[in-house]
Symmetry: C2
Subunit: 146 residues, 2 copies
Amino acid sequence: MHSEQEIVQQLSAAGFRITQARRAIIQVLLSAQDCLTPADVYERARLLSPNVGLVTAYRTLELLSDMGVVRKIHGDADCHGYAIIGHGHRHHLTCRRCGRVEEFEGCSLSELFERVRLESGFAIVDHMLEVTGICPDCQSLEHQAG
Amino acid sequence: MHSEQEIVQQLSAAGFRITQARRAIIQVLLSAQDCLTPADVYERARLLSPNVGLVTAYRTLELLSDMGVVRKIHGDADCHGYAIIGHGHRHHLTCRRCGRVEEFEGCSLSELFERVRLESGFAIVDHMLEVTGICPDCQSLEHQAG
DNA sequence: TTGTGTGCAAAATCTTTGCACTTCG
DNA sequence: CGAAGTGCAAAGATTTTGCACACAA
């Protein structure tokens, strides 16, 4: 799990400055349970640091994305969200109902990729696996609702 | 593999009209080797039917997407492309260099999903797997180039 | 003939850029 | 102090909407 401290150090080490705005945005991302659009980040960051601008949300998300701290989440409908990447994790599990995002590890796709490589001749470079479902909380709400 | 005929029948059966514009757009999608943005579809469709408008490209892609004929392809950078869905296929393999898209079947993720379900409590509803790599043609170009 | 579908232009969104001012280091 | 970073406003893209006309059925 990333902490604010770790991320700040990572930015600092790479020569980037630690500003109010960046701190606020990092805190927002760390405390988010779901994935956030630049506009979401903007809105929430203002609560922590009132004159953060939308443009800074864009710029900081891009920076954090380049640094590998955050990554874009692609749902079929909404493909403009970002979420923090946990250590070594790469895949997201999104709740269809409430939008909550969890991560999971170990996607064990190597066999599949080997097959794909043999069949297609492609050299596999990267992959993205996004899973959607209904989270436990929403499942119980559903049962209550009938 | 979908054919123009099959798609036309599918639309027709669902009560949609078969217009010049729709035919042109379907042909464009069928003949595309890579995934296309609405703007791409617009440009190419005009070659077949000169007064197709951009708006129609948007509207037709949405329609075809609802009908399950086409689906959005999500690359990390570009998430606005669409490609035809082959029968029963659901996953795409994109070449990083030339953008060519192929499909593959049988993603054999059921074991993984079972594990994710047990660990997270989520009821898995859907998933999206996008793989990127270098296609055979681009691999040989690379070798030639040094 | 009829109303779905179209193209155009305009509006609404979303994202990027330019620039003077702030602020971290 | 100096340059990276910021916020604002404006420009650029992208996507959606309104409306009169066209054309499948």
